[in-house]
């Protein structure tokens, strides 16, 4: 009898926790979050563009790169009154209050580690993360593996980021950290990178040393993406393939470039 009671209390407690969590889960009405839409999610984020399948990247237009200082859009002026037909005081427009909120400063999340004991690099002549960082204003580091569906979901968004910001000093480094043995074969990685349109530098982290060092505390998630600034500070760190995550990544890069 006591066991039944204990089990009932335990299950009721868990049900309460689950219910509380589910109430804030955003419901199931959003088709974009259904498994069926999983492959489409990242394809649309933030805009669709096919990354080039060559290992050398041709820079695309500057449309997105023309970063606008958000404070420019603040309108704090009102139209001056006409000197001939003076408007009565009672109908004069109230002084406009600036409503555009400047973006919040992007906080520093810590100092970035380096990449060591790599098994090589693809799509680049560089041989270290430092070398890449030294020649770029921002470096986007993503831990991925080609067999991971969620990693593949992010590639279109990364391709768009690369196309838009490569010429503005942004480099992407895909740290390939295989989960399974067939993902560790270099020939398979080269073939998959070509198929998936991964044209940015790939660091081969076959033994996952860097994967685990960058994600301390016995955790390891694919994909995980960081943005490192010119001072080697981490300015963005997110796990998962969510569209919102990669839109936020795009905004962060855009904002950091504007601040630099």
């Amino acid at each position: 009898m006591v066991r039944y009671l204990a089990l009932g209390v335990l299950l009721a407690g868990l049900a309460a926790i689950v219910w509380t969590a589910v109430r804030g889960d955003g419901g199931g009405d959003d088709p974009a979050t259904s498994p069926a839409a999983a492959d489409d999610r990242m394809a649309a984020a933030p805009t669709t563009a096919e990354p080039a399948a060559e290992t050398t990247v041709a820079a695309a237009g500057d449309s997105k790169a023309a970063v606008v200082d958000a404070t420019d859009s603040v309108d704090g002026t009102s139209k001056p009154a006409d000197p001939v037909t003076e408007v009565p005081e009672t109908t004069a427009p109230e002084p406009t209050v600036a409503t555009t909120v400047p973006p919040e400063p992007i906080e520093v999340l810590g100092t970035a580690d380096t990449l060591t004991n790599l098994d090589g690099w693809l799509n680049t002549d560089a041989t270290s993360l430092e070398e890449i960082r030294a020649t770029n204003r921002l470096t986007v580091v993503q831990f991925w593996t080609f067999g991971c569906r969620n990693c593949k979901n992010t590639l279109d968004a990364l391709g768009q980021l690369y196309t838009d910001f490569r010429d503005h000093g942004v480099e992407i480094v895909g740290v390939h950290s295989p989960e399974f043995s067939y993902e560790a074969d270099v020939d398979n990685i080269i073939e998959a990178a070509a198929d998936l349109g991964v044209v940015w530098p790939i660091a081969l982290d076959t033994d996952k040393r860097n994967f685990h060092r960058w994600q301390p505390g016995n955790i390891g998630y694919w994909p995980r993406v960081y943005v490192i600034d010119g001072d080697n500070q981490i300015r963005f760190d997110r796990t998962g393939d969510g569209r919102a995550t990669y839109e936020k990544l795009y905004e962060t890069v855009e904002q950091l470039l504007a601040q630099a």
Binding site: L14, A21, E179, F180, Y182, G217, N218, Y221, W222, G240
Partner: protein, 199 residues
């Protein structure tokens, strides 16, 4: 619901099989306490995955932790087999420990909802723990359905209660323990997945 569905969608992913295969095998072995074992496996897996993400559990599976994990992996299968009933301590304990072990080993491929959970464990503890439970209910749904099957369709009970069926589960459990001891469990699952999907 979206979190549950993302969990269901993850069932066919190799990353999730690392956690799902032992759950199904354990349900096959626990002939007298299938549902209890499955439910507590979900709870254990959710708790430990959440605890890792929140930084409450950072024990790495190296050194002395490897033989401990191996003994636990083998032990839970024996205990689940010997469980005398659905409310026995051995059934609940085996389920929780086996689930926690799976949550300890799991390195997930992270979708949007799971990503939201993992990114916010530090700031929204109760909510993310609840959502993690919901996600696990989806990801481990095959094990739960298998556990419910004898109750929903009594005709299947006779088949599932047969010794060879439990032996299959036991063989998977033994393979689980051995490959854990040798550090090859992920590779084994990966190879099985590659063969199954022609990847």
């Amino acid at each position: 619901m979206a979190t549950f569905l993302e969990g269901v969608g993850a069932i066919g992913v190799a990353c999730t099989l690392v956690m799902l295969v032992p759950a199904v095998a354990l349900v096959l072995v626990a002939r007298k306490a299938r549902l209890t074992v499955a439910l507590f496996y979900v709870i254990g897996a959710a708790l430990l995955t959440w605890a890792r993400a929140a930084g409450h559990w950072d024990v790495e599976l190296t050194g002395t932790a490897v033989p401990v994990a191996t003994v636990l992996a083998a032990g839970v299968f024996v205990i689940a087999y010997l469980a005398k009933g659905p409310l026995s301590l051995s059934a609940t304990g085996a389920g929780v420990v086996a689930g926690a072990l799976a949550g300890w080993l799991w390195q997930p491929c992270v979708g949007p909802k799971l990503g939201e959970i993992l990114n916010n464990t530090g700031t929204e503890a109760a909510r993310t723990l609840g959502l993690m439970l919901v996600y696990m209910l989806g990801a481990l749904l095959p094990a739960l359905l298998l556990a419910i099957l004898p109750h929903a369709l009594p005709a299947t009970k006779r088949f599932l209660d047969r010794l060879p069926v439990a032996a299959v589960g036991g063989a998977v459990g033994a393979a689980y323990a051995i490959t854990l001891a040798t550090g090859r469990y992920d590779d084994l699952v990966g190879e099985l997945y590659r063969i199954a999907t022609n990847a």
